[in-house]
Symmetry: C2
Subunit: 188 residues, 2 copies
């Protein structure tokens, strides 16, 4: 098991996503999405956790939160939280995250979506896990609100199958879905 960073990177997308009526919206960044998913990401060695939002004021909020836990009072109060949040990277778009990873790896990452609905370009968990074990860069997108907009889904090379729990109900929070999917891809 590697103790360092894996080639799996994740992005929490706040725009473009859809609302209940499937209209395209931008959602607000929430404190808890940042903390919970950062803690899971750090536990599993996810390389980067991008927070994607086009809004300047939302970047200011994210940066204020990171500052508190990275060098403010939070850093001494809870060093474990400092460590988890060290991999959070605010970006203005998915494209910015892709560009940034492309520079780091010298090649574009596999862009992979997760969705509660079945898409056309499905990749199995075992197959994606294999790519990560072979150190191929992967950027896995999670949508906030009622999910990623179609224009983002269409940009993705692959999509992971929806999580099925053996019932007809599938309304996981993005925090739960991210935890389950990361465990399936990187858990031992």
């Amino acid at each position: 098991m590697s103790k360092g960073k894996r080639s799996l990177h994740i992005a929490l997308v706040h725009h473009p996503v859809v609302n209940k009526k499937r209209e395209i919206i931008g959602s607000a960044v929430t404190n808890l999405d940042i903390h919970d998913i950062a803690r899971t990401a750090r536990t599993y060695g996810v390389g980067s956790y991008f927070i994607s939002t086009p809004y300047e004021d939302q970047h200011a909020l994210v940066n204020e939160l990171l500052e508190h836990w990275q060098s403010g009072y939070g850093a001494t109060y809870n060093p474990a939280r400092k460590e988890a949040l060290a991999r959070v990277r605010p970006v203005f778009s998915v494209d910015e995250a892709v560009s940034s990873l492309t520079k780091e790896y010298g090649r574009a990452p596999h862009l992979v979506t997760t969705s509660a609905l079945e898409q056309g370009n499905t990749i199995g968990y075992a197959e994606l896990r294999k790519k990560i074990n072979e150190k191929e860069p992967v950027l896995l997108l999670f949508g906030t609100a009622h999910g990623l907009a179609q224009e983002i889904l269409e940009q993705c090379e692959y999509s992971l199958p929806p999580i099925k729990g053996g019932t007809d109900y599938n309304h996981l929070s993005v925090r739960s879905a991210a935890s389950i999917i990361i465990d399936r891809l990187l858990g031992s």
Copy 2:
């Protein structure tokens, strides 16, 4: 795959748990722990989601929240949330949850703990999964704050091994830990 309820039940314990200094405390119920874990539980067909707290005022809060989503405005605004919260059962202690399940099944449930630290009475995920598939009642406990108090851990027949993500870091939120563990026990 069963569409109905499984014999796995869970309890989120707010007392007795420990704080940062390992002192025994009672933690506050949070809105998000109820919602997130209820959504995961419903997705996987978990039988009951007990919220255990000895405090009357905390019960009043939980009941107010359930009322809003079960029969108040929330029930029509978001029927899926209504359905998830239908399996939430406030109790005053773990003993009350055990008694209640004992009555339903005519036998005591296996009491199982989850802990970020290794305990003595470990049961593997596959073995516990087998018991659930054989419809044996299981009550799985999750601790809030810094985890379950020793007196609760000692009451448990089994403990699941800590979740390892292949790094030296293990600070998952209880919401993430619950999602991952439920997926490992009931996911397909």
